[in-house]
Each structure stands twice: as C-alpha cells, then as structure tokens.
Symmetry: C2
Subunit: 339 residues, 2 copies
C-alpha cells in the first residue's frame, strides 16, 4: 500500500469544504479557506495545504473563532481599505476587500489594505500572487506569536513575521516570494525536536538567552531572525506595519491573547498594492522588458527565481488533475468528516 493517497483536484476541494462546514464554518468561510489550501496543495506546499485543516478545526473547537463572521469592509481613505474580520478567519475578509484594494491601487497608484481582528494560518504568497494577476506589484506582512528574539536579545519578542512580495509578469507566473524573517519556521524546530536532531548554529537560543543547538531547549527559549541584525530590523518593521500601524496586535500581544490555546494566531495583516502603470508614468510595458532582462540574467547564471519549484509542481499537478497527500493525513482528515 502506498504511503500516499492521490486526490483529484475537485475531490481535494470537496473534502476541504466538507470538513470545514461539518465543523462549524459557513459556506463562505469554507470556500475562502479551501481556495488558499487548494492553491498551496496544487503547488506541493504541503505545510500550508490540507494539513492546515487540522488547525482550522482545532481553532474553531477552541470556541473563540466565529465560523460565520461576516467581514465589515470600510473605505478608510482614498488609498486605504480596512477589513474587519470580526473574529473570523482572515481569508473571507481578504476576499471581500480585494476588489476595492485593486481598484484603489489602479486609480491612485498605491493603496493599502488592513485586515483586522482575524485568525490567521495561511501562506501569504497566494494573496500577493492574486494581486499580481490583476497586474499589480504587492507586499504582504503579518506578525505571529512572540517566538523570536531580536538581534542581541535573550527572549522571544518578535513573531516569525513573514514577508511576501509579488511582481506581475506578462504571460508568465509572477515573480513571487514569501519567507519567514525567523531563521527557521516554528514547525521546523518542532520537527528537529521530534527527530532528536541537533539544530544548526545560529538558529535559536535557550531560555537563558544562550545559543543552543538543542531543539527542545530552543522550543523553550527563542528562535533567531535570519540575517542577524538586518533580519531583526526587518522583523521589527513587520511588527510595526502589520500591528500598531493598523490598530492591531503585536506578536507578543497575540501570544498573550491566545492563552496557550491550540488555535490559529489572532492579529492583523497589511497588504500594499502598487500599480506599475501609474508609477512608471504609463511606461509599464517597456519596463516589463527591463524586469525580464533582470530575471534572465539571474537564471542564466544557474540561480533560481524564488517560486520556480512551486510553478513546476503546479503545472504537473494541474496536468494530471491530482495531488498527493500522506495516507496518515488523509485518514486523520476523514475522521473530521461528519456528513
């Protein structure tokens, strides 16, 4: 028996929507959450694919997430949209606010979307990719929980604070990246701990603030940012822009709010969308070629563009109309179906 189960793309969608709705999310939430898991699974991003259904169900069972919350969208200034998720998952609020963000960016040149009061579990790249499909450059940032120490610090204050960016390419998948500003993702440290493997140097400190390669000690201490003091500065910027700037929680406040409950972090998110046409004085087409020469020069020397592997996986999975997930995950998911 294979260790993997193969699902057709439509089956994957159906499975995800059913599990979510069986556990208290309404159809709108189930769809918007499924859309993003579908995108991740299609690109073989297993960490943010169907696996996250477990967290979604656990989150709603903890009793604080509103699975039927209707987001409130506010026009908060000529170039600002605010989306109050009203204690629901972030994705429905994003979906509801996206058309207005796109419209404002195209009309004004640059616009920002603040999503507030949301539970958040998803990868950011599908969100910025969507903005690039509309012809825009886009940046997205979220805090998380205070597991990461600032450079020179001794304890967790910052989140894993991912930064995602996307650039539209004519007739091609966008140039997109999405990385945690911590050296490792929290889940990676956990995998090292379970495997009893030593962490590389420079990834974590213990509870006394001393460097450690012991994953158990790291889980009780703090992770470090990537790139030393520069990554730390970037992470603080993300705390500020996706937190106090938009009237929402820092990673530390979000962790306090969670009270150790096994639910998705509760905080805000910021997206910035920029129109290449207005920014270039109407010369976006000519400048696209300039960007393409940059990409070509990177590829020509054997380097990879950030999302290349994902796009290859997407094409393969779409062609064969199927994805694979571990049998253990599949069986666990089936126990969450009630209908």
């Amino acid at each position: 028996m294979s260790d993997n189960v193969t699902l057709r793309l439509a089956e994957m969608r159906e499975l995800s929507e059913t599990i979510l709705m069986d556990n208290g999310f309404n159809k709108d939430h189930a769809r918007s959450i499924t859309d993003i898991m579908y995108a991740c699974q299609q690109d073989d991003c297993h960490s943010h694919g169907l696996h996250r259904l477990l967290m979604c169900v656990e989150s709603i069972q903890s009793g604080r997430i509103d699975g039927t919350a209707v987001p409130t969208i506010t026009d908060a200034g000529p170039s600002v949209v605010r989306a109050n998720a009203n204690k629901g998952m972030s994705l429905l609020a994003l979906q509801a606010a996206l058309p207005q963000l796109i419209e404002k960016a195209k009309k004004n040149g640059i616009a920002a979307l603040a999503i507030n009061n949301c539970y958040h579990f998803s990868a950011l790249w599908p969100e910025v990719e969507k903005l690039s499909e509309a012809g825009l450059a886009a940046i997205a940032m979220v805090p998380s929980h205070a597991w990461v120490a600032p450079a020179g610090g001794t304890r967790g204050t910052l989140g894993t604070n991912p930064l995602a960016f996307s650039w539209p390419r004519r007739g091609k998948h966008p140039f997109t990246f999405d990385f945690a500003t911590s050296q490792f993702a929290r889940g990676e440290v956990e995998l090292y701990r379970r495997a009893g493997k030593a962490l590389p140097e420079g990834v974590a400190i213990d509870k006394d603030g001393k460097p450690t390669t012991d994953a158990e000690a790291a889980m009780n201490g703090a992770m470090l940012t990537f790139g030393g003091y520069k990554g730390s500065a970037l992470s603080i910027m993300i705390e500020l822009l996706a937190g106090p700037l938009i009237d929402d929680l820092t990673s530390k406040e979000s962790m306090e709010f969670a009270e150790g409950k096994p639910e998705a972090p509760y905080h805000g998110e910021i997206l910035i969308a920029i129109d290449p046409n207005l920014l270039s004085g109407g010369k976006a087409v000519a400048n696209d070629e300039r960007a393409e020469r940059l990409f070509a020069d990177i590829l020509d020397q054997g380097a990879r563009l950030p999302s290349q592997r994902r796009y290859v996986a997407r094409e393969n999975n779409m062609k064969r109309d199927a994805i694979e997930i571990p049998r253990t995950l599949y069986e666990e998911l089936l126990t969450l179906r009630k209908s």
Copy 2:
C-alpha cells in the same frame, strides 16, 4: 598634532557648501547635498559624511552630472509624485518633492515618490527620518551597481540595494534603520583589500563564482547578499521597485551607463510614506503606546534599537557644537576649495 580636526557645525556646513559651489553645483544643489552630509556627520556616520564631498566633486568633474539641473515635479496620480532630477544629484529633487509626498500620504493614507534620472550617493536614513518627523512611517529603496550575485548565482547582477525604514515616535527620535542587502558594503571589501586582510566566509565569490575570502578576488568577482536566499529575494524586490516599477535603471543598467567613470551611480529611487492615523482608523495615539511597549521589550533584554548609536552621537555633537574628521580628509577637502 591630533589626527583629527574639530569643526564647529556651522563651519562644517560652510566648508561643504563652498566646496560644492566652487566645483560647479549651484546654491540649491550645494545646500541640499550639504544638508544630508551635515546630518550624517552630526551622527558620526563618517562613511556618508564630508568624505562624500570627494565623490561629489569627482562626479561633477566627470562631466555628466548637471550641477544646475532644476528638478521637475509631476503629480502622477492621486497617491504618486514623480520627481525628475534631470541628471542632477537626487537630493534637490527629493527636497522639492517631499512636501507633495507628505501631503498625499496624509490625505490618502499611503503615497509613493519616484525620483528619476538622478545621481545618487547618499544614505537613505536621513530621508525616511524626515518623513517620520512629519508623523509618517516611511520606506526608501535604491539600486546601485551590479556588484552582488543572487543566491545560487556566479556573478554580479544585483546592487548593494539598501532598504531604509522609519517609524515616528512621539517626543523621541524615530525608530529608523538603513541597511545594504549585500553582506558587506562595497567600501568595506575595499578596506579589507587595502589592509590585505581575509574576508569572513560567505561574503563574496571570485570571478569564477567560487566562494572566496580574498578581498582582491572578491573585488573582481561579486559580493553576496546578507541572509542567503532571503536577502537575495529582498534585493531583487528592491531592483524591481526602485527600477522597472518607476521607469528607471536596474543596477546592471546603471553600471553599464557609468562606463567605469568615477562618478556617483545614476538610477532612480522610490520612497513610500504611510500615515498611521488613516491606517489605524484614527487611533494612532493608542497604537503608539503599543509600539513603545515593543521597543521597551527589546531594550529591556539588552538589545539595541537600530539607530541608537547615531542618536547618542547626534546629541553629543549638537551639545558641543562640533564634529571631528580625520586631518587627512580635511586637508584633501581644503585642496578642493577654490575661493
């Protein structure tokens, strides 16, 4: 005899303006360039202080910079200002466009300034600090010359591409950082070369794309970005946003344009200004306190905020109304005075 010369703050300004005007910059350019050098020198940022007068003079002597260029400011969309430096130094264009950028950010919530066709030598932190003095959060980015290889690459394609960010703090100096996305600054590698010192691992590759700690080989090869593939992705983002997005040159195009001449790089710059008041739905004061708790938590564990040293230097230098520069630099500067 001391190795340093002490200048009063007013003397420093006068020396800088005189040298610039004696060498072909008009009064407006001389003032805007001096303002930024003054700010750097006042904060003991020697690398971007009076030392840069040598580069400014060399640049104008190369015959391509227009020392009398009048920048053209265009309202390019409700949230976009474009400033054409018309082949002058960037700083006068910045100064001329800043009021409009601030006005648009405060009215619309977020706004962008594209500076085009400028020669650029200056640190970015004084620019974003200025926006924070006006109560705004700000980001600035520029390309440079293609001295930096992308992650997994073998040759220079990216610039040292600095990223600067600033966050306004009530009654305090702003939270500000400004770092190169290359592991080292170009000038640092040059210092290692002159001193015959080995570079640390992971800073550079030689002309065949192989890792090297030999500074001479690094100068003929390429530098690496900070933080591996994440820093590389960030650097590519800066190429795109401060280049093709705003109809201006990439680092590679800028290097080709220079034809090896000893002048400041010629390219564009992007600044993004964000209004905490509109983004927070009018709750900027309450959220300031949230940001202050974040800073306090960082300081409390013995970590430093990015610009702390600069602010201490500034206070000291302002109090004693003096700065110090190396005697050798001072003597070299005197030879540039013609009046």
